[in-house]
C-alpha cells in the first residue's frame, strides 16, 4: 500500500474523529486496509432525504490524493446524480480533465487539497440539491423534473428503509 496515501488518510481520519462534523461519519473498515472506508451520511434536513442514514463505501486509489476516491452508496437511493449501481457522480470526485458529462468547470473538480470531509459534505449538499442537468440516473432525473411528488415519495420510502423502518 502506498505509504504516503496511508499517512494522509490516517491524518484525515484523526481529524474526522477529533473534529466531528454533524451528519458525517467515516472511517476505514478494517485497520489492515486503509484504502477502503465506510461512511454514513445523514439525509439533509428539510429535504425528502431527511431522517435517512445513507451508508456508502469510499475507495481510495494508491496515488491518493493525486487521484480522487470513488464513493458508492451501499443502500437503496434514488437520486439524479447517483448511478443505479450506487456510484456517486459529482464534480468533486472527477479529476480535472476528465468530464464524463462535459458539464463541469475545472474549479469544482477534484484537487489534491480536497479531503474526505469535503467530499462527504458535497455529497450531502448534492442530496439536498440534485443537479438534474447532468444526470447519472436518467430515470431519476426525469422523475425529479416531471413528477416531483412521486420522486419525493420514493425518496422518503428509501430514507425510512435506510434506518430499518
Amino acid at each position: 500500500m502506498a505509504a504516503k496515501a496511508v499517512r494522509r488518510l490516517l491524518s484525515e481520519y484523526r481529524e474526522l474523529i477529533n473534529n466531528e462534523t454533524d451528519g458525517i461519519y467515516a472511517g476505514p473498515i478494517s485497520e489492515d486496509n486503509f484504502m477502503l472506508w465506510e461512511c454514513l451520511i445523514a439525509g439533509p434536513p428539510d429535504t425528502p432525504f431527511e431522517g435517512g442514514m445513507y451508508s456508502a463505501t469510499l475507495t481510495f486509489p494508491d496515488d491518493y490524493p493525486l487521484s480522487p476516491p470513488t464513493l458508492k452508496f451501499t443502500c437503496d437511493i434514488l437520486h439524479p446524480n447517483v448511478y443505479p449501481d450506487g456510484t456517486v457522480c459529482i464534480s468533486i470526485l472527477h479529476p480535472p480533465g476528465d468530464d464524463p458529462n462535459m458539464y463541469e468547470s475545472a474549479s469544482e473538480r477534484w484537487s489534491p487539497i480536497q479531503s474526505v470531509e469535503k467530499v462527504l459534505l458535497s455529497v450531502m449538499s448534492m442530496l439536498a440539491e440534485p443537479n438534474d442537468e447532468s444526470g447519472a440516473n436518467v430515470d431519476a432525473s426525469k422523475m425529479f423534473r416531471e413528477d416531483r411528488e412521486q420522486y419525493e415519495k420514493i425518496v422518503r420510502r428509501c430514507a425510512r428503509k435506510t434506518v430499518g423502518l
Binding site: 502506498a2 504516503k4 473534529n19 484504502m35 437503496d76 443505479p84 487539497i113
Partner: protein, 457 residues
C-alpha cells in the same frame, strides 16, 4: 490513534485550541505533513517540493486555486521552512506543557467545586436550622458546576487556518520572476539570485547553522530586491529558444533574437554549453558564477554544478523510446532491455525520477542517488497495485463472501430476472399503447437499484 503520529487536532483539548489553525497552515495541504522543502507557486500557495511537482505533472494547475502554473516558476519559500523547523522543534514541549497546564486547571476547578459544595452544605444546614427551606432547589441549581466541555469552539478557529501563507507569498514570486523579464543585460543579477538558490541545497557545506542564518539570509534579500519593475506573472512566457521567462509583449522580438543568435556561428548565452541538445530549454536555468563577465559567455558547468541542476521535464511526443531507455539506463534506473515496457511506462518513470530528483535538490538534507533510485522503485511498486481501475480490498475473499451471501445473491438474481421480465412486458405494453405510464417506470427504477451485485455472482 498513537501519540507518535502528530496531528493538528492534538491542540484541540489544550487551553489554546487556536494552535490547531497555526499547525494546519504549517502543513502541506497535499500530504498533510509538515512542509519539506516548501515551494511557493506563482499564485502564492505553498506546498512540499515533491508534492507540488507531482501535482503539476498530473495537471499543470495549482491544487488550491486551479490557476495554471509550471514547475520552473516554483520558488523556495524560505520563511516557511524556518517556521516549520522551529515549530517542530518546540512542538512536543509545547504540547506537554499545555496538557500539564490543562490538568492543573482541572484539578483546581475540582478543588473549587468541592469547596463550593461544602460551602453550600454549610448554608443548607444553616438554613435548615433556621427553619427556612423554601428555596433549596434553587440553590442546587446554582451549585451546578460551571464545567463546560470546550469542544465546539474550535470549529470557527478551524476555518481560517490556510490564509497566512497566501498573504506572504505572492510578493516573492513576482519579485523573482519580474527579474527574469529584465532582458539579458541584467543577467548578472539573475545569476546572483540563482546562486543563492543553489547555495540552499547544502547549507552546511559553507555555513554552520548560525552562520547560515546571520549571513546567508540578508544576502538573499539584497540580491533579490534589485530591479523592481512590477510585472504581472500571468504576462510572462518562457522563450521557446532559451527558456527564459519574458514579458509577452516582448517575447516575439526576444525569440527572434535568440534564433538569430543560434544560427550565427559564435556561441551565445542561450545555446552555447554543456546542456545536451535533446534536453528542453528549462535546463538552462542560470547557475552561479562569481566571476561572470559582462560578455555573457557562460563557462561550461563543472561536474559539481551539473549535479545540482534541476532536470527538465521534456516533451513526451518529442522523445523517442530508444532515447528514453538510454536516458534511464544512463541514470542507472532499471528498465527492461527487451522492450516489454511501453513508452508510456518509461515516460512516467522518467517523470517521477525528475520529480524526486528535483525535489531532493530543494531539500535541506539531500539524499544520495542510490537512495533516490530506491525511492523511485518503492513509489512504482505502490503505483502498480493501482493497475485495475477499481481498487479492491486485499483481504477480501471472493469465495467466502459469495458462499456466505449466496442466498442474497440468488434472491437478487431472481428479483432481477423478474424485473427484467417485467421490463420486457412493460416495454411490450408500452409499445402497444405507445405511452408508458410513470408508475411502471418507477417500478423498474427501484428494481434496478438493488441489482448491481448480480455482477458478482
Amino acid at each position: 490513534m498513537d501519540a507518535d503520529f502528530p496531528d493538528p487536532t492534538d491542540w484541540i483539548p489544550t487551553p489554546v485550541p487556536g494552535l490547531q489553525a497555526l499547525e494546519t497552515s504549517l502543513r502541506c495541504q497535499v500530504c498533510k505533513e509538515f512542509f519539506t522543502a516548501p515551494k511557493v507557486t506563482s499564485c502564492g500557495h505553498t506546498f512540499c517540493s515533491l508534492c507540488i511537482r507531482r501535482c503539476l505533472s498530473v495537471s499543470s494547475k495549482c491544487p488550491t486555486c486551479m490557476k495554471p502554473d509550471e514547475e520552473p516558476r516554483l520558488r523556495d519559500n524560505v520563511i516557511f521552512s524556518e517556521l516549520v523547523s522551529s515549530f517542530t522543534a518546540i512542538r512536543k514541549q509545547l504540547l506537554d506543557t499545555l496538557v500539564k497546564e490543562k490538568e492543573k486547571e482541572e484539578a483546581r476547578k475540582q478543588a473549587e467545586e468541592v469547596a463550593k459544595r461544602e460551602a453550600e452544605a454549610r448554608t443548607r444546614v444553616e438554613k435548615r436550622s433556621s427553619g427556612d427551606r423554601g428555596d433549596e432547589d434553587e440553590i442546587m441549581e446554582d451549585a451546578e458546576p460551571p464545567h463546560r466541555p470546550r469542544g465546539k469552539r474550535r470549529r470557527q478557529d478551524g476555518v481560517t487556518p490556510r490564509r497566512t501563507q497566501e498573504i506572504e507569498a505572492p510578493r516573492r514570486s513576482t519579485r523573482t520572476s519580474s527579474q527574469r523579464t529584465n532582458s539579458r543585460i541584467s543577467s548578472q543579477t539573475v545569476v546572483s539570485l540563482d546562486s543563492d538558490d543553489d547555495g540552499d541545497f547544502q547549507p552546511n557545506e559553507e555555513f554552520s547553522d548560525d552562520d547560515f542564518q546571520s549571513s546567508a539570509r540578508p544576502k538573499r534579500k539584497t540580491a533579490t530586491r534589485v530591479p523592481d519593475t512590477p510585472t504581472k506573472d500571468s504576462s510572462l512566457m518562457a522563450c521557446p529558444v532559451c527558456g527564459r521567462l519574458k514579458d509577452i509583449s516582448t517575447i516575439e522580438a526576444h525569440a527572434n533574437r535568440c534564433l538569430e543568435a543560434r544560427r550565427s556561428p559564435s556561441p551565445t548565452p542561450g545555446v552555447s554549453n554543456g546542456a545536451s541538445s535533446s534536453s528542453s530549454p528549462l535546463k538552462r536555468q542560470p547557475v552561479s558564477f562569481s566571476n561572470v563577465s559582462k560578455s555573457q559567455h557562460r563557462p561550461p558547468y563543472t561536474a559539481e554544478e551539473r549535479e545540482r541542476l534541476r532536470l527538465p521535464k521534456g516533451n513526451a511526443s518529442l522523445t523517442k523510446e530508444a532515447d528514453l531507455r538510454k536516458k534511464l539506463r544512463d541514470i542507472g534506473i532499471r528498465c527492461d532491455v527487451k522492450g516489454k515496457e511501453t513508452k508510456q511506462v518509461l515516460w512516467a518513470r522518467l517523470q517521477e525520477w525528475i520529480n524526486i530528483w528535483n525535489a531532493n535538490l530543494d531539500s535541506d538534507n539531500p539524499k544520495t542517488k542510490m537512495a533516490l533510485i530506491r525511492d523511485l522503485e518503492v513509489y512504482e511498486r505502490n503505483q502498480q497495485n493501482q493497475k485495475p481501475s477499481v481498487v479492491q480490498d486485499k483481504g477480501f475473499e471472493r469465495e467466502a463472501w459469495s458462499s456466505s451471501h449466496n442466498n442474497e445473491f440468488e434472491a437478487l438474481v431472481a428479483s432481477a430476472r423478474k424485473s427484467a421480465a417485467q421490463k420486457k412486458e412493460n416495454a411490450e405494453e408500452a409499445a402497444a399503447t405507445d405511452r408508458p405510464s410513470d408508475s411502471t417506470g418507477v417500478q423498474t427504477e427501484l428494481n434496478g437499484i438493488g441489482s448491481p451485485e448480480i455482477i458478482e455472482t
